[in-house]
Amino acid sequence: MKAAPFEYARAADVDEACAWLAADDGARLIAGGQTLVPMMAMRLARPTRLIDINRIAALSYIRQETHQDQDGIAIGATTRQCAVERDALAAAKVPLLARAIPNIGHAATRARGTIGGSLANADPAAEISLIAVTLDATLSYRAGGKTTDIPARGFHVGAMVTSLPEGACLTAVRFPVWQGRIGTGFHEVNARSSDFAFVSAAAQIELGADNKCKRIVIGVGAATDHPIRLESAERQLAGGALDPKAVRAAVEAALTDIEALDDLHATAAYRRRVAAVLAARAVADAFADAQGKKVQGNANAH
């Protein structure tokens, strides 16, 4: 299981990486390589040239940024998943991300795997993609000497398919920071605790002083070929008391028409049904969390 031959080059900066990408149709960027390298080993991916962006210092950071009056946490594309996992600022400002990250692979893959690499790879079960979609994160990429923003929801379009233009390099993702009484919930189910999820669900809410839901987002991953938002449920539940039965009914209704994936690990029926279960649990956790109650968390808690 050895990769097909390729050329290797380390890019000094993003524009150099982009220029090299543009010069060679077969070139690919490598960040953490935790998905790309196995694909290459099995010769399912055969880049002619591998452009290594790991050493571009400007792509590795976690910082607070205000963008069009919206507070956000910006994370550079090659920031390691383990760096975000350990980062107090990210945990405080984007708690949903902090809840999800320990569920990605293993410590040894999070030590190399990057935030941008996971987003660009766009596995339907990727936790970071789910959180980006759920929170309406903004992705930035560089191409032709120009930086462009794209919403996470427009970025993820299919299984391992994104709207990132040819020759572009993803540079950052910016998660909006919510203010107020915030609560988050994240659940996923898989065979073994560290496997790709069959289904995952994330929710974030803001509660008013009356314990009514002021704002709610709910995302579901792995059930379909890319992460989705349960918008109809969000609309229905916003402003309400998040009664468990109402939540369940709303998420079930939002999931009735999805085209669920069907594969070796889980049937479409399983994914559709359990997506509703996990989405409801994520909302329940978020509700409890916002009220300062302890949340048990993921069903597959380690």
């Binding site: 299981m1 050895k2 990769a3 097909a4 031959p5 196995p38 099995m42 010769r43 189910v189 898989n190 065979a191 073994r192 605790s193 560290s194 496997d195 790709f196 069959f198 070796l264 690990h265 889980a266 049937t267 029926a269 399983y270 049904r273 359990v274 279960v277 069903a299 597959n300 380690h302």
Partner: protein, 804 residues
């Protein structure tokens, strides 16, 4: 020495001597071996479930840099003989590379030799093969049907074996029993899947007519089989036994890899190495395990006492036979488990299909059989409304009934099942466990208790071969040990097979140290190559503690006797007055008169004039040990003593299932284990825990799944799921020791422990959990999605009913 005598080293909590080299990364694995001018092999595999090979165009590949040679099935078949198979099925030949027809997706069709493995893979991609896809069959029951595609046209059917045994008055017992039930149970296709794949380095020396083989092998008669297939004398095959094997548990039997590399090295004149990559290993390594469908029928009384059983086992062996159909034979030696079932009918059917070929897996078929038996016992309890533990207790052989003859002709050596169970329950409290289950249920979980009471036959003589193929007359499966004390007084013992983690060097040191009453660590252990070896059956069938331990024990006693005789002679006393104590021989009546170790060595090596008359000089002894219950061939009605020793394991566990997710979680796990005398408790515990983990895998996670096109879809570790540390719960193991009367120290086997009962116990627990919904699941592995969907459908039905 008796089993209960004072032991110095046996059963003490000593370290395992092999561990030191492994923790430092200094194991000597086959992939660590680099011979001068060694080249690398990659194989080209068939992408179809079945296909005729019409043409192979090697030209482009041969022109690539670093490529030395490409061999195909026609060339190899012309130069070699087919590989050895267990059954007489001459029209089902098995070869390293497919000849004319490939019969499963992943089967090897050609092999490339190149300077590096990467270059070999590059060239393998460039070989152009013209295939004509053929009809194929994947399912064993379909393979039995008339008109099904034939995997081997010349064989005329897909059935390799169909044999029915009747032991006792089955029909009479069925007629006399007030109750009957039948059950269908399926063991899914999984295997042992060691973390090290199979690898071999073959190097031919034409000036010495010698093929040197380094391999990660665990197989009896390996050198013989290589020689036969390559048409060279076995004396021209030198297998190096000092290669550390990175896990096997049965499957490391790369005979086809070895014949291929041996041929290439002879043809090309340089060493050739093939280390399977994970895809080659999973698809075409021919190391899948049993995929078995059971139809069980039992006749029993209202009390739950089972009087008779009919069992039909249909095994899907994959595309070629090899030795795997024999895995239907071993369970005959424990066909009734630990129970007093009066009569048995057993029908064993092996069919070929277009799936990967199987090889021996831990337990050699006993695990699936135990699953069928233990699921059946639970169902007996269920239909009677009795507690499953109570039903087992009523059927168990009692300790005062040993030795116990079972209908299929084997006599169980010893056991104290009721005490093992009592110890587990004393520790666990069955009522407490039930209360915990009920608490979980009250919290909305589906919770269930699983029980399995299982046997591990160990140390046998392989007469399952003769049972299933009368042309075979094998009635021994010996092992050997040679001990030499050198002229400086140092002790060296030899063993004659590689090991794959079982701690055999520690075993030898401990047993010899015990007999000679010397520190086991001073016993140096070596592994001569196959040309310098005595016979060894290799670490199969849970036999090494019994067989290698037995050989070492007898060799050491022979040595002790010689030392004692030399001492007595030199002291001028009759032999019966000589006392051997920790290497010193003294006069019982005048203990101050003695000969120390150094004196005895001095006499044996340098002072022949002081030796007893006609004694060989030196201190070299050997012992070739026969299975302690001897060796007899089966009677015409298929009864035979196959295994001498029977270890017992009692699993008791609690499973909790989130009903909405269908994900089972093992909440409590307790095991009672009795393998007689434990020579090294650390090793026994490790193998037992490993067996439980492996059993958890077989029960819940692991399956070589195929799609409808005949493609193996669980071909990498992304899809074939081995349990990680998260999936294996803490297990309380309660030991009990019922010595075997047949073995030198009372020991029984433990290499398959845990694995032989865990799947059954887990399946029983899941069924106890979901029984309230009116459903059951009898197919392994019980995957999350499958269980979740089943529960959801049952709940849906209940809702509909309630609605009505």
């Amino acid at each position: 020495m008796s089993a209960t005598g004072n032991r110095r080293y046996v059963s003490s909590d000593r370290r395992v001597r092999e561990d030191r080299r492994f923790v430092a990364g200094k194991g000597h694995f086959v992939a660590d071996i680099e011979l001068p001018n060694m080249k690398h092999v990659a194989v080209v595999t068939c992408p179809h479930a079945a296909a005729r090979i019409k043409a192979i165009d090697k030209r482009a590949a041969l022109a690539m840099p670093g490529v030395h040679y490409i061999v195909d099935g026609a060339e190899l078949a012309a130069a070699t003989l087919p590989l050895m198979t267990g059954l007489d099925t001459p029209n089902v030949p098995r070869r390293p590379l497919a000849l004319d027809v490939a019969r499963y997706s992943g089967e090897w069709v050609a092999a490339v030799v190149a300077d590096t493995r990467a270059l070999a893979e590059d060239a393998a991609e460039a070989i152009e093969i013209d295939y004509e896809a053929l009809p194929f069959v994947l399912d064993a029951e379909q393979a039995l049907e008339q008109g099904s595609p034939l995997v081997h046209e010349a064989h005329g059917s897909n059935v390799l074996l169909d044999k029915t045994f009747v032991w006792g008055e089955v029909e009479k017992d069925f007629a006399a029993s007030p109750r009957k039930l039948s059950l269908r149970v399926k063991w899914g296709r999984s295997s042992t899947v060691p973390i090290e794949t199979f690898g071999v380095v073959a190097s031919w020396d034409p000036w010495r007519d010698m093929l040197d083989v380094h391999a990660s092998i665990q197989m009896p008669r390996y050198a013989d089989q290589i020689g036969i297939a390559l048409k060279i004398p076995a004396t021209s095959v030198r297998v190096h036994h000092d290669v550390d094997v990175g896990g096997s548990y049965g499957v490391k039997r790369g005979i086809k890899h070895t014949v291929l590399c041996g041929y290439l090295s002879r043809r090309l004149g340089f060493p050739v190495r093939l280390i399977e990559d994970r895809l080659e290993n999973m698809r075409g390594g021919d190391a899948h395990g049993p995929e078995r469908l059971f139809d069980v029928e039992v006749a029993f009384a209202d009390s739950g006492i089972v009087r008779s059983m009919k069992m039909r086992a249909l095994e899907n062996v994959g595309a070629y036979a090899g030795r795997s159909p024999f895995q239907l034979g071993k369970p005959i030696g424990a066909i009734v488990g630990p129970y007093k079932i009066n009569s048995v009918e057993y029908r064993a059917i092996a069919v070929v299909t277009n799936k990967t070929t199987q090889d021996a897996v831990r337990g050699f078929g006993q695990g699936p059989t135990n699953l069928a038996l233990e699921r059946t016992m639970d169902e007996v309890a269920n239909v009677l409304g009795l507690d499953p533990l109570e039903v087992r207790k009523r059927n168990l052989i009692r300790h005062d009934e040993f030795p116990y003859l079972i209908p299929s002709g084997t006599t169980y050596d010893s056991g104290n099942y009721e005490t093992v169970i009592a110890k587990v329950l004393a520790d666990a409290g069955y009522e407490d466990l039930k209360a915990e289950r009920d608490r979980l249920r009250a919290e909305g979980k589906l919770a269930g208790i699983g029980i399995a009471a299982c046997l591990e036959p160990s140390g046998g003589n392989a007469t399952f071969e003769a049972l299933l193929n009368p042309a075979i007359t094998t009635s021994t499966f010996m092992d050997s040990c040679r001990i030499n004390i050198d002229g400086m007084g140092a002790i060296t013992a030899t063993m004659h097979t590689p090991s794959s983690g079982q701690g055999h060097e520690t075993l030898l040191g401990t047993v010899i140290g015990e007999v000679l009453q010397v520190d086991p660590d001073v016993v140096h252990v070596t592994r001569p190559d196959s040309l310098n070896s005595l016979p060894s059956g290799t670490p199969v069938g849970s036999r090494m503690a019994i067989m290698l331990g037995g050989a070492a024990f007898h060799a050491a006693n022979r040595l002790k006797a010689k030392l004692t005789a030399i001492g007595a002679h030199d002291l001028g006393i009759p032999l019966e007055r000589a006392v051997y104590d920790a290497g010193t021989v003294s006069d019982r009546d005048a203990p101050q008169n003695k000969r120390a170790w150094a004196d005895l060595v001095q006499i044996a090596f340098r002072n022949y004039h002081r030796m007893p008359q006609d004694f060989e000089p030196g201190l070299a002894v050997e012992h070739v040990y026969q299975v302690p219950t001897g060796g007899t061939l089966p009677t015409p009605d298929g009864r035979v003593q196959m295994y001498p020793c029977f270890s017992f394991e009692f699993h008791l566990l609690l499973v909790s299932i989130d009903p909405e997710l269908g994900r089972p979680e093992i909440v409590r796990y307790r095991l009672g284990h009795d393998c007689g005398t434990q020579i090294n408790p650390k090793i026994v515990r490790g193998m037992t825990m490993g067996g439980i983990a492996h059993g958890i895998g077989a029960a819940l996670y692991e399956e070589f799944a195929y799609n409808d096109d005949g493609q193996l879809i669980a071909q990498s570790f992304m899809d074939y799921l081995l349990p990680s540390s998260h999936e294996v719960p803490a297990v309380d193991i309660v030991d009990h020791e019922t010595p075997s009367p047949h073995t030198v120290l009372g020991q029984k086997g433990s290499g398959e422990s845990g694995y032989l009962g865990a799947p059954a116990a887990i399946a029983n627990a899941v069924n106890d959990a979901i029984r309230g919904l009116g459903i059951s699941i009898n197919t392994l592995p019980i995957k999350v999605s499958k269980l979740g969907d089943l529960i959801a459908q049952a709940q849906e039905k209940t809702k509909v009913k309630k609605g009505n």
